[in-house]
């Protein structure tokens, strides 16, 4: 099980922002979505997820709102702000650059 601390620093932020870019989600849904899409390769612990959400919120990249889920429960939904979209673009570009570079080295050696 790979913990987020094994991820490259800041990658969790990218994953959260990317996950939220389609639609607002609550914490549980974010974690589930990341697990599903990565075919369970990435498991997000709550101990990492919620502090990250609060940090992103305090940086003004995401916004939180209490809403009712399909099952009729109150949950805190997070959505991207405009600044968050800009930040996501930035982080995506950065990630591309980094992963290409790492890929090059890994393939060459």
């Amino acid at each position: 099980m790979s913990k987020p601390s094994d991820l490259i620093q800041g990658t969790l932020d990218l994953l959260i922002l990317k996950t939220l870019s389609l639609e607002p989600k609550h914490g549980w849904a974010i974690a589930k979505r990341i697990e599903q899409v990565s075919h369970e390769a990435l498991q997000i612990t709550q101990g990492a997820l919620y502090p990250a959400l609060h940090r992103l919120e305090h940086q003004g990249w995401i916004r939180a709102r209490w809403r009712t889920t399909e099952t009729g429960r109150e949950a805190k939904f997070y959505e991207l702000t405009r600044a968050g979209r800009v930040q996501l673009e930035k982080e995506l570009a950065e990630w591309e650059r980094l992963s290409n570079a790492v890929g090059l080295i890994v393939r060459m050696v």
Binding site: G27, W28, T45, Y50, P51, H54, H58, K76
Partner: protein, 893 residues
Amino acid sequence: MEPGRWWNLARMRFSSLVRRGRVDEELDKELRFHLDQQIEENLAAGMPLSEARFAAMRRLGGVAQIQEECRDMRRMNYAHDLVQDLRYAARTLVKERGFAALVALTLGLGIGANSAIFSVIDGVLLKKLPYRQPDRIVRVFFSSNTYPKFPLNPFDFRDFRTRSRSFQALAAFTRSDVQLSGSGEPVRLAAFRVTAGYFDVLGVTPALGREFDQSDEVPGNGNALILSDRTWRSEFGAAPDIIGRKITLDSQPATVVGVMPPGTEHPGNSYHALPYGNSVDAWRPFTFEGDPNDRGSHFLEVIGRLKPGVPRAQAQAELNTLLPQIASEHGGYRGWHMLAVELYREIVGANERLLLVLLGAVGLVLMIACANVANLLMARATARQREIAVRSALGARQSRLVRQMLTESLLIALAGGALGLVFAAGGVKALVSLLPADFPRVDSIHVNAAVLGFTLLVALAAGFAFGLVPALEAARAYPQQGLREGARGSTDTGLHLRLRSVLVVAEVSLASILLAGAGLMLRSFVNLLRMDPGFRPEHVLTADLTLPITEYKTPAAARAFEDSLITNLSSAPAVKYAGIGTDLPWTGYDENIGGFTIEGKNPPPGEEFHGRYHAATPDYFRALGIPLERGRFFTKADNQGAPQVMIINSTMARFYWPRRDALGARIAFSDTPKEKDWMTVVGIVGDVKDTPTSRGAEPAFWWPALQVPFVMNNGVMSVAIRSDSDASQLANVLRREVHHLDPALAVYDLRLLDQITDANLASARFAFFLVGLFATLAVGLAAVGTYGVIAYSVGRRNHEFGLRMALGASRWDVVRLVFRRGVTLAAVGVTVGLLAGLGLARVLRSLIYEVSPADPLTFGAVALLVFSVAALACYLPARRATEADPMTALRAE
């Protein structure tokens, strides 16, 4: 970034700070939702309910940890922590009231002393002078090597005023008191004659009427008067119609033309000086009397306002290019140049050094107090080791522990600061009452906002200074150790003790520096007290009189008055000797030096012979107790018809007649003397210096009062009466005799000669008293610090001492062990302190009298004193060490 985002952020941060409960609640709710989702998932996967719950909880991990981390992410923790730390600190301090009070008191004394001295510095040095753009005001002097600040001749001044381009306005002033007569007893007004535009230079406009213009300077027009606000109120009942009123000054009619607003401060002057401040009662116009080509007489003090953008140096350079022009038109002035000094410098003068030295001294005291408090805190940290260990075992991070302990220190420091302000308020009152009478700007010394800010700053700085090392040291302790060791001391006490020893060494060395300073001041003060003033100040009453020139028009009239007064006084009971002279010792001096011719000698080219000139009646010297070295005093026979004679002082005799007997030598006040112009030296009297701290006496000579060819000193005369017993009883006798001769004359400046000498020592006494007080405080604090550390080390080694004695060591051996530690600390401290003191003492050079800044006696005495105090601090711990019980020690093994 869009403003909306900022607004959101701000709202969020505010709510996470203020509505912390709600934010935590929401987080709870959010996590519970997550947990429920997990449980549902587990149930869906087929787990039974209890297992599903347990698995979900396990997966979630420590809720408290997540909460804490989320809070960290919200970044408002500092503020929360601060509130928490403050609460915790306040609780701790209340619990340890005695300790907190001791520390706050120590700091309060240190901070209070600093704030009090700062109040004086703020009032005297920092506050702007109460003039318009005061930094553009300069004082202008004539200057030579012998006379660095000499007054100007009126016509020279007038030439400078006309020709100079650097000044927006240039004015001159000279002391000239007047007697205001109206109803009742005549009143003496402290007054100045000033040229046109004098108040324009200062930038003060009259509250009523006008200031003088150049038409007032024309001889014959000088009978206008400008009143100070105080005189206007006290003498004229603040009459609104005062302008144009006819009054009587020195028995002459005069007209009031203006009233100055309150707070028109006199800028201070040197000749017949009035101190800076609210010291002048009235101003009269200066009139340019006499022959403009006769430029020998120098008595005008000059003040100017620089044009905008003209630096002081440039103005001085311009005056120096003008001087040779003016000199070439009228001859003379070789070796002289012009000097322009900022008014602020001139007013603050030597007091700046004194105040900065005092600030340094209190700064040292505060540093010692801080070291002492740090020591106390470290001692307390030992006692708190368990508490700290428990907290860190429970997960408090080291930085958090340091922060918390610093908060405690800062809280104590602020309490100390508050206490310091109370002390400062009292201290400032005491300081002001101790200040020498002629200290400038005493009125502007208050505990104000600046002092408040300074106190707060000093308190915070002190809090950090004494709090940081103990906090770091305490937080470094490892939890396991602290928990495990329980009752016995920690293994880390070695480092702890070393740190505390360093603090004590620092305290001792700082105290040694202060003691050395105080020692030098004490030696200097004793030297001043023991110095032979050159006169005998006991049982002498002095007073001043001014004969109005308008009433006593001729020298003969003045001489007749003097003669009758002396005759009547001398026959009064209890009067031993009564004399009249142009001035009194140590009451300021007139730099006006007569140029004269010495029979058979030629002055060096470009220079002339000169000396301070005075006049005296026969018993003047006896009344003051100035000794006759050779020859004779004046007698009644030295009058108009008799051959001209003079008395010179010892310095003048040595200076001009180094190789021959000055008695019988002749001088004359004429470049081409005729036989009748020569005056013969008939007596040589002892030297009296200008001030007690002057390097030496200036050459001086006296005319017999009965032979002075003109009215000297504008008719101002000083009376000195020596009595057998209490001279203050003579005041009424003097008043009666004066009014018997002239009921309109005011007798003023009635003082005992003792009081005059005392006032001259005030500055030295003030400096010595304060530095001594601070040094005493410092030594006391350092002694307590030393005691604390020795006592701690004895307590720690009690067991060892017991063992030693069980193994046969004598009590004496144990005592020696304890003392060795104390004396070592003291030795290192004294060595460091005295070396630093040797370097620092140089700043005292201008404040001490006839003591070398490296005076071996002082430094030796300081070392001895510090060792004695250190030994004293070791005494109690040493005694306790000898009481260590060998049996207990053995049993414990």
